[in-house]
């Protein structure tokens, strides 16, 4: 019985390959974009985790120098003697432009083994100690050839662009004998050991944050990618829903016959579910394959973006990770289940003696339409209420979901209303028939149009967010990178000498002073600033008290960044404690885009009083002649050229990073829109086969087949244009939610929203082109329908 039932069900797909293709293609596209994004995210996270495992970030507390970048070996010895269980790390950059991070560890004292050594990695402790080798993954190992005078061993578990070796080998290769970069603390420390301030007062303890630091930094980027993946998946599922709905409606007769001939309902439902499961797995497998291609093509840009924005090292090559391809198959099955639940329930509830005639798949019943509209209005209202009242990131996504689903459900009703209005004003019989016929086609095309609406709204929303970010960030860079030259010195003494040297040659010398601090009980950084013309003229503030700069310069107030202000619930006028004996009022709040932690700025004098041990090694220099100053610094002062970076270089680098981000966003935009275009194409093609009974009377009454084809094309363009118009306010609303709700909840800053009418017009044009392309073939087929086929409608032989 099972075999006979399956063969009957399968025969439907064999006879309707176009529908089968639509279903599998929909599933494959939905899965592809989802798994593509997941693959990119998984690859990036694996790289972060590898880095965290290698470098001890995230898992263990660390001791870092309060100022400068080095710890003396004697300090390490003193700590060990005082009972502190710490492991030394020396690290530095090797290779062209310092592209490879060389990390030297001491596996005997490193807590629990680090990365591949001694822990869960593939390298034994004895092996590591016996062979004074440098370990790296294959790509990095290849680049290390000729750069280090030690044997190179390939170890795939090591993070990309990172090499690990014994600490003495690293010190030799980095020419840093006796110098340590940081100390990693074991989780368990003996009780009663001498306090850090007594043994090593120059060190500061940074607590573990329970995860890869860089992972936290890059969450915003991955969140955006995930949101895009989900939207693309939703668009794909619309296609699947349409294909399954049509297939089930057309098989009502078969279902009735199968049951009448003796197939139990339960068995039938099971077989239908199995059939869909198999199709979902096929579509999912193809999707995972396509997702791999999408991910492989996106990953280099994503890796470059992450490196540029956050300094995160992400492997540029993709690994087939079971987690993402299994999740791809799972999401394909889940999507099919969601799309098919209604259809399966309808089969389960269908009386055996129900009419076998397809129950007008292409015509939604009035009551259903009213229910859909009510649900839509409810969701839109809920979205508005949540946007104004709710808090938290999950709520932010709740707002997005309600807004998008509500708007998609409202689309058929709104389009129906517009078409009814146009129809009532149409003059001429052809026009009246055209608008009436378009209204009749609306339910059949509504899923595809909903997909188009979502894709366009996502495009508008995400593009607006990214473009607003770029615009804001560019302005922000202009403010923050006011100095013409940025200079790094090797020591505080060299820094002091440079300050004296530059005092007469530069318009302003701005030392960059900072320490890690806990502000408002949150990890943050405290900066000391020499308040002068540069700050007063260039820094725009989001909120400020009168005479803000005078007060900060006088040490009577401080500035905080937006992240700290929002997270701590502080604003201008509130007090912030920056030391046990110093609390200052907040005189201004500044935007600080891209920085994940809080920041406070006090006057240089206040900072030096609080942290006399911290001395500046980096400086911003204001000058009218950067070239002359650069020459003086290198030739007269003896600074290495690579210690000087000019403003233009940094800006160009930062903007280049954004261009890479745009490449990723643009690629995802194109993919999502393509999926929506495909949904429209398949819907039109499917409907074309069902259109003859509606078109034959018009043909018989005098409309030529060519004219009918042209009208079909025009119908698609009209519907796409109306959908594009409706997508604009939806996309802007989406952008507002992303900028004003999700961004604030996720990252702590709110970006101003800008609109880009030209971009929207171009997008609308793309949508129309997609509609014309989607409708061209079905319309052509219709225009070439043989008269004999049209006559069959009247012969009742169809």
């Amino acid at each position: 019985m099972t075999g006979a039932g399956l063969s009957a069900l399968w025969s439907y797909w064999r006879r309707n390959p176009l529908q089968l293709f639509t279903l599998i293609a929909g599933l494959a596209l939905a899965t592809a974009l989802w798994t593509g994004v997941q693959a990119v995210n998984a690859e990036a996270r694996a790289s972060y985790d590898a880095a965290a495992a290698t470098l001890g970030e995230g898992q263990y507390d660390q001791l870092l120098p309060k100022a400068g970048e080095e710890i003396a070996q004697e300090t390490f010895i003193a700590l060990r003697r005082a009972g502190w269980i710490v492991g030394p790390v020396t690290e530095g950059q090797v290779g062209p432009n310092g592209a490879i991070r060389l990390v030297g560890i001491d596996p005997l004292t490193a807590p629990g083994g680090l990365g591949p050594v001694g822990g869960g990695g593939g390298m034994g402790l004895t092996e590591f100690l016996e062979a004074p080798a440098v370990f790296a993954d294959a790509a990095t190992a290849a680049r290390l050839e000729g750069l280090v005078d030690a044997p190179i061993v390939v170890e795939p578990t090591i993070a990309p662009n990172t090499a690990i070796t014994d600490i003495f080998v690293a010190q030799r290769l980095l020419n840093a004998q006796g110098r340590l970069s940081r100390l990693i603390m074991a989780s368990e420390q003996p009780l009663g050991r001498a306090p850090l301030a007594q043994v090593a007062p120059d060190l500061v303890r940074r607590t573990a944050q329970g995860g890869a630091d860089v992972g936290r930094l890059t969450d915003s980027f991955h969140l955006n990618l995930t949101a895009f993946g989900l939207l693309s998946f939703a668009v794909g599922i619309f296609i699947v829903h349409g294909a399954i709905g049509l297939a089930f409606e057309q098989r009502r007769g078969m279902v009735r016959t199968l049951r009448a001939l003796g197939m139990p309902l339960g068995r039938l439902i099971t077989l239908l579910a199995v059939e869909l499961g198999v199709l979902a797995l096929i579509g999912g497998t193809i999707g995972v394959g396509l997702g791999y291609v999408v991910a492989a093509s996106l990953l280099p840009d994503v890796a470059a973006t992450l490196k540029g924005l956050y300094g995160a090292q992400v492997s540029g090559t993709l690994v087939l990770r079971p987690s993402w391809w299994l999740s791809g198959l799972a999401i394909s099955l889940l999507g099919t289940a969601v799309a098919a639940t209604g259809a399966l329930m309808s089969v389960a509830r269908m009386p055996l003696l129900a009419s076998a005639r397809p129950r007008a798949w292409a015509t939604t019943r009035g009551t259903l339409r009213k229910v859909q509209m009510s649900v839509s209005l409810g969701l839109l209202a809920l979205s508005g209420i949540l946007a104004l009242s709710a808090e938290g990131l999950i709520m932010g996504f709740g707002v997005l979901a309600c807004l998008l689903i509500g708007a998609a459900l409202a689309l058929p009703g709104v389009l129906g209303g517009v078409l009814a209005l146009v129809q009532s004003r149409a003059t001429g019989v052809t026009a009246q028939w055209f608008w009436a016929d378009t209204r009749q086609q609306l339910p059949g095309l509504s899923l595809a149009l909903m997909a188009l609406l979502l894709a366009m709204a996502a495009n508008i929303g995400v593009s607006t967010m990214v473009s607003s970010f770029r615009l804001t960030f560019t302005g922000f860079l202009d403010q923050r990178l006011a100095s013409e030259l940025y200079v790094s010195t090797e020591s505080a003494e060299q820094g002091a000498a440079l300050e004296r040297f530059a005092a007469s040659r530069a318009r302003e010398v701005l030392p960059l002073l900072s320490v890690e601090a806990a502000l408002a009980d949150m990890p943050a950084a405290l900066y000391g600033a020499r308040i002068g013309a540069t700050y007063r003229e260039n820094w725009g503030l989001l909120g400020e008290a009168p005479q803000v700069w005078d007060r900060v310069a006088a040490g009577d107030a401080l500035l905080v960044n937006e992240q700290l202000a929002r997270r701590a619930g502080l604003w201008v006028g509130d007090d912030l404690s920056i030391a046990a004996d110093l609390t200052l009022p907040i005189a201004g709040v500044f935007g600080d885009y891209g920085n994940p932690i809080g920041q406070a700025i006090v006057a240089e004098d206040v900072f030096t009083r609080l942290h006399p041990e911290v001395r500046a090694t980096r400086f911003g220099l204001r000058t009218d002649d950067p070239t002359a100053l650069r020459d003086a610094l290198t030739q007269d002062f003896g600074l290495a050229p690579q210690a000087i970076t000019d403003q233009a270089q940094i800006k160009a680098f930062s903007l280049a990073v954004f261009e890479r981000t745009f490449t990723v966003t643009a690629a995802l935009n194109v993919l999502t829109l393509s999926v929506a275009g495909f949904a429209m194409f398949m819907s039109l093609l499917t409907l074309a086969g069902m259109r003859l009974p509606q078109l034959a009377p018009a043909w018989a009454l005098g409309l030529t087949r060519r004219k009918l084809g042209q009208l079909e094309l025009m119908r698609a363009v009209v519907l796409a244009a109306l959908t594009a118009l409706l997508a604009l306010p939806l996309g802007l609303a989406l952008a507002w939610v992303l900028l004003a709700v999700v961004n604030v909840e996720a990252f702590g800053w709110r970006l101003p929203m800008y609109v880009f009418p030209r971009d929207y017009a171009v997008l609308g044009l793309f949508a129309l082109v997609a509609a014309v392309l989607a409708a061209a073939w079905p319309a052509r087929r219709l225009a070439r329908t043989p008269p004999s086929d049209l006559l069959k409608v009247f012969a009742n032989e169809r």
């Binding site: 009957a8 439907y12 007769g253 078969m254 003696l353």
Partner: protein, 218 residues
């Protein structure tokens, strides 16, 4: 007795309350018997046929097929009886459009697990379908489609054939030809036949005629 119907009642919900369609029906059909069920439109002929076939459930009464009470069975058990013991020929043919003629004929027999390729071919030959086996229903005439439906009903070797106006969609000459073939095959397989028809001429070719009037057997 192959089929024993006793005290069967059935009502449908109308706008102004339940509308009785069958009132206290008693009838019997023996093995190999051929019975015509006649009556005006709305008299309850098709409803009675659906109840006997287990396609619908009676409000009251017994419907025993080979000693088993169909009326008391659940959906799955009734489906099993339909599959194994009953062949149904519909007025609208109800072939599976995506299966070719050969697969359609064999379909119920495969469901019942009694498929015999030789039997399928024999039925196709007897009904003049030997040249049509690889065609799809959409490429057949109405008469040919009904022949396929008859072959499908007989291929599973059921004890009872139920035919609901099987020639209602055919012209007179084709109808006569199809009915003759069906009667011949039913007689040959030894199955019983209950056929709903409006045509006195077709009814006259059955062993017995039962006439329904306002939900009761006259």
């Amino acid at each position: 007795m192959l089929l024993d119907v006793k005290g069967v009642k059935k009502s449908f919900q109308g706008a102004e309350g339940p509308v009785p369609v069958l009132r206290d029906i008693d009838m019997t059909v023996g093995a190999g018997d051929t019975v015509a069920l006649t009556g005006e439109s709305g008299s309850g002929k098709s409803t009675l046929l659906h109840l006997i076939g287990g396609l619908d459930t009676a409000d009251a009464g017994l419907i025993k097929l080979d000693g088993q009470d169909i009326a008391a069975m659940g959906d799955s058990a009734r489906a099993a009886v339909r599959c194994r013991d009953i062949g149904i020929v519909f007025q609208q043919f109800n072939l599976i459009p995506s299966l070719d003629v050969a697969a359609n004929i064999a379909f119920q027999a495969r469901l019942a697990g009694v498929h015999d390729a030789a039997k399928t071919k024999e039925l196709a030959d007897a009904l003049g379908l030997a040249d049509q086996l690889h065609k799809y229903p959409e490429n057949l005439s109405g008469g040919q489609q009904q022949r396929v439906a008859i072959a499908r009903a007989l291929a599973a070797l059921p004890k009872l054939i139920l035919a609901d106006e099987p020639t209602g969609n055919l012209d007179e000459a084709t109808a006569a030809e199809v009915l003759a073939q069906m009667l011949s095959l039913v007689t040959r397989t030894g199955a019983a036949l209950v056929m709903v028809t409006h045509s006195p001429r077709l009814a006259s070719q059955m062993n017995r005629t039962l006439h329904l009037r306002q939900g009761m057997l006259a």
